[in-house]
Each structure stands twice: as structure tokens, then as C-alpha cells.
């Protein structure tokens, strides 16, 4: 099934190359992105059944065939963007409840998935919100979700006007940019290897430079273990805790609550 879809896409892409001789690359890229968008629209459902019902998000819900499918039945590998992760839900709830966190700021949402946190930052008055996910399919999902919520989505090279949600697929972990006022890490502490360590070191560097770093996490063992040292525990301030709604608990067996943590500067 996956290979069939892939070859169908390839065929369509070849056709579009043949019929648009003027600017084949741009048109092919657009067609592909359009196909991805169409696929997302056909295989997901607009849902408000989560912790932030203010947001309409295209997700794979219980009404979608993919819900009961095997991972390998999905034509796109690891569609993490198709689900609203518990850490992301609590972080987004926090942003909507505390608009001052994003108002007038540049907010970077790392591992943005469906883009909920970045979209919430835009809706709360962020000057710039950047949804960053290395999965190009996620980029399309974020664009769809932004539009669903009346937020303008900007994909490079087109410039991002103030108030828009900029979509970025570069790997930003470890990079520093004076532009970022707030960095959001929703459910990024699932890895106990090098990536988890890199995220933590990065959060450290960002905090030292005055960037506010917010973490959303449902109590993953990896996050607890990683932050178990006294120095880190002293630097992590729990700013909010929410009960996860029923649907979210069903999607995340074993998790019932989620907390938002803020890194504080070394004292």
C-alpha cells in the first residue's frame, strides 16, 4: 500500500514536471506539498477534543482508519504530527492561559508536530512564532492547522509577516539566536541518549543567554531521571500542572497529568 502511494505520487510528480516546463522544480515541489496537504485532509479529522478546545487541529482521531492501523500502513513514516502529544497539550494550555508569556515576543516551538503550541503563541500575540519540526510532512500539517485557526503560515523563502507562524524544518537543536525570546520544548524528553542530553545542554545555553525555556512533559521517566540531579531540580520551576483529558489519556496509556516547567538561570 505504501509503495503504491509512493509510486502514484512519483507519477504525478513526473506528470507535473512534463506539463510545467517553465519552472519545473517549484511546480513539482508545490504539487508534492499539495498532495501531502490533500492526504492529510483526507485522512485526519478536525478535532477540538483536547486540552485546548480553542484550537481546531487536524489529527488522527478514533474516527480515522489510521487509529487502528499498524504503523507501517501509514504512507508517511512516523506521523508524529498527526497526534497532539500530552506535553504539547499542557504547554499550549499554559500559553493560552498566560498570553503575557508570548505577547510581543519571538517564540520558537521545537519539535512542533501538529504546531499547536506555535499557533497558540501566535494567537496570544507573539510577534513571531516559529514552528520547527524536521519532518517536512509536519510542516504541511502545521500550515493547515495554522490556517484552520486564522493564523497566517509562512514557509521560507516567503517572508514571515509579524503575527504569522513561520514554519522551519531545519534542525535547530544546539543553535543560538538572539531573536528567540521564548523556546518551547513540548514532549522533547523522550530520549535518554545523546539527543536528550543535547536538548538539556541547549536549554542550559539558551537560559544563560536570557531566553525563557518552557518544557511540557507528562512525567516521562526519561525526563524525571534526567532532571533528578539536585542542581537541575533547583533550576526547574513547575509553573503549571493539568489533568489530561480522557481522549489524551487514551492516546497515551499510563499518563494522567502533565506539567509545565520553566528553566531558571544559574544563580
Amino acid at each position: 500500500m505504501a509503495s503504491l502511494i509512493r509510486s502514484a505520487r512519483l507519477l504525478r510528480r513526473l506528470h507535473s514536471l512534463a506539463s510545467h516546463p517553465v519552472s519545473p522544480l517549484t511546480s513539482a515541489a508545490r504539487t508534492t506539498a499539495e498532495n501531502v496537504a490533500k492526504w492529510i485532509e483526507e485522512n485526519t479529522e478536525v478535532s477540538r477534543d483536547h486540552l485546548t478546545p480553542e484550537l481546531r487541529l487536524r489529527l488522527v482521531t478514533q474516527n480515522c482508519w489510521l487509529w487502528r492501523a499498524r504503523a507501517e500502513d501509514c504512507p508517511y513514516p512516523d506521523p508524529f504530527w498527526a497526534f497532539y502529544w500530552p506535553g504539547g497539550q499542557v504547554l499550549t494550555r499554559f500559553l493560552l492561559d498566560n498570553p503575557d508569556v508570548s505577547r510581543g515576543k519571538t517564540v520558537l516551538d521545537v519539535g512542533s508536530g501538529c504546531g499547536a503550541s506555535a499557533i497558540a503563541a501566535s494567537m496570544s500575540g507573539a510577534t513571531y512564532a516559529i514552528a520547527n519540526d524536521t519532518d517536512p510532512i509536519a510542516a504541511t500539517a502545521v500550515a493547515l492547522n495554522a490556517r484552520l485557526n486564522g493564523v497566517c503560515a509562512a514557509t521560507p523563502p516567503s517572508p514571515a509577516p509579524p503575527g504569522s507562524c513561520e514554519i522551519c524544518t531545519a534542525s535547530l537543536v544546539g543553535r543560538l539566536d538572539a531573536r528567540w525570546d521564548v523556546v518551547l520544548l513540548g514532549d522533547m524528553f523522550y530520549d535518554d541518549g545523546d539527543f536528550g542530553r543535547a536538548i538539556l545542554d541547549w536549554a542550559d545555553d539558551l537560559t544563560t543567554r536570557g531566553t525563557a525555556v518552557l518544557v511540557g512533559d507528562p512525567g516521562r521517566a526519561t525526563f524525571r531521571e534526567r532532571t533528578a540531579t539536585t542542581t537541575l531540580r533547583r533550576r526547574l520551576l513547575k509553573v503549571a500542572e493539568y489533568d489530561l483529558p480522557r481522549r489524551c489519556r487514551e492516546e497515551n496509556s499510563g499518563f494522567t497529568t502533565g506539567a509545565v516547567w520553566q528553566f531558571s538561570r544559574v544563580v
Binding site: 488522527v60 487509529w67 487502528r68 502529544w85 535518554d192 521517566a221 526519561t222 487514551e250 492516546e251 496509556s253
Partner: protein, 262 residues
């Protein structure tokens, strides 16, 4: 470790055996040394699935803080660990036992491994299925409790937590027996304990991000030397064809012919 305060970690270790799927018609190898496993669908032992489900429910009730799924065997065991992680276990431990040695791995070895891991992980509870549907041994929970000198509550059909103790309802021949055990303890699950949840795509996907540690029996100081030698494995006798009897007279004459009545 006796009294578990609210802030203490309550880690549950769950045994997860990869077995031939319950729906598969099992075939004996022509040389009678075992059953055919190549190209046969395998899955998580159904009783272990019940064990994982119970651990997840304990976590949802905020009694357990972490669930560690353990499986011993060849690399394919990671598939059943992924199932356990998708059902809600927090992390997995794969005890690597190569195919050649796995054939002779017995509950006594698995019990020693679980006991060592329980000590290493400072577990508060071990839950395993009462038996695996392949060898039907029904030994792992009991021997693990013995190695650890922990109380055991086998064939559990209901588990409740009261202060530092567990109230466990057990399915015994005469009916239901309720016992109180102190923690830490070893439990084994009976069929009616719960109905395991289905691992849906969102859970399966998120399980990919959970970690599985690999260890060898030797890392835990466990010797897996073979103690039991399998002499032969045979298919159960094939059922003989029956006959349809028209009336009572015919039945009586048939029974008389066969010498069952005079």
C-alpha cells in the same frame, strides 16, 4: 523498603514472554525435538498482556510510578516489548539470549533474571502472567518470589492497594481466596483480572520513542546452563471419527458391541 511513602518510587517489573500467537495451529517438527517456530506469527503471551494492563492501571491510579517491561530471548523479543510499551509501560529491558540457548531457557533461569533485575531496579512489585501459553509451566512467579524471599500472590483476579499492603483476590479451585501481602511482592495474573487494552496507532507510535535497554544474563550474574533435557515432543492424539446414531436401539447395540454395557 517496607512502607512506601507517597514520594517514593513504586516501580513495577512486568515479565513479557514472546510466544506463538494463540490463534496459530501449532505443528510439531518432524524430528520431534520441538514445535515449528520459523515463519509462525508470535505475540505477547496473553497472560503477560493482562500483567502489563494491570501495571498500567496501577499507574493510572497513581499507585505505580514506573513500569518496566522485561523480556528474555532472541532479538525478536523486542517486538513484544514494543507492544508492552504501546500499552503503557515506560521502558523495556531486553535480556538477550541467542536462539540456540533460548531453546533450553527454563522458568528457573527467567526467575533468577527477574529477581536480579528487581534488586537492581529497586522494584516494589513484579507482575507476570500465571503461565505462558507455549510451555504452560506456571513456575516463574513462584520461583521469583522464592529467590527474592518476597511474598507471592498467584492467580490474581483482583488487586487492591491498602496502605503498605496489597489485597489480592486469587482464583483457587474452591472459589475465590482473598489474601493480604506486604510489598514488595510477586504477583501472577489470572484470566479474569482485567481485559487488556488494544494498542492503537498513537500509542504504538509514541512507544517507538521509549527506550529498551539490552543486557545479557551474564551481566546479571545469572547462569543459564540447561537443566532440563527435552526427550521428545509429540502432537496430541488425533481425535477418532465418530458415528451418527439414528435411535436409542442403535445406541444400545453399539454400546453393547463396544463392551461398555452388558
Amino acid at each position: 523498603m517496607g512502607v512506601l511513602g507517597p514520594k517514593m518510587a513504586f516501580r513495577v517489573l512486568v515479565g513479557c514472554k514472546r510466544v506463538i500467537d494463540y490463534a496459530v495451529k501449532v505443528r510439531v517438527k518432524p524430528d520431534k525435538t520441538g514445535v515449528v517456530t520459523d515463519g509462525v506469527k508470535h505475540s505477547l503471551n496473553p497472560f503477560d498482556e493482562i500483567a502489563i494492563e494491570e501495571a498500567v492501571r496501577l499507574k493510572e491510579k497513581k499507585i505505580a510510578t514506573e513500569i518496566v517491561a522485561v523480556s528474555c530471548g532472541p532479538p525478536k523479543c523486542q517486538e513484544v516489548l514494543r507492544t508492552a510499551l504501546a500499552m503503557g509501560a515506560d521502558r523495556g529491558i531486553h535480556i538477550e539470549v541467542p536462539d540456540e540457548e533460548y531453546a533450553s531457557l527454563q522458568p528457573i533461569h527467567v526467575s533468577k533474571i527477574l529477581a536480579k533485575l528487581a534488586a537492581q531496579e529497586e522494584a516494589s512489585m513484579i507482575i507476570v502472567g500465571k503461565q505462558a501459553i507455549d510451555d504452560d509451566c506456571n513456575q516463574t512467579a513462584q520461583m521469583t518470589a522464592a529467590f527474592l524471599d518476597w511474598p507471592q500472590a498467584t492467580f490474581a483476579s483482583k488487586i487492591e492497594k491498602t496502605n503498605g499492603d496489597l489485597l489480592v483476590t486469587r482464583e483457587v479451585d474452591g472459589g475465590l481466596e482473598t489474601i493480604k501481602v506486604k510489598l514488595p511482592a510477586v504477583l501472577s495474573t489470572d484470566l479474569r483480572l482485567n481485559e487488556p487494552r488494544y494498542a492503537t496507532l498513537p500509542n504504538i507510535m509514541k512507544a517507538k520513542k521509549k527506550k529498551i535497554d539490552k543486557k545479557k544474563p551474564a551481566d546479571l550474574g545469572v547462569d543459564i546452563t540447561q537443566h532440563v533435557e527435552v526427550l521428545k515432543v509429540e502432537e496430541p492424539p488425533v481425535r477418532q471419527a465418530g458415528v451418527i446414531i439414528e435411535n436409542a436401539e442403535q445406541l444400545v447395540s453399539k454400546l453393547r458391541e463396544a463392551g461398555h454395557i452388558q
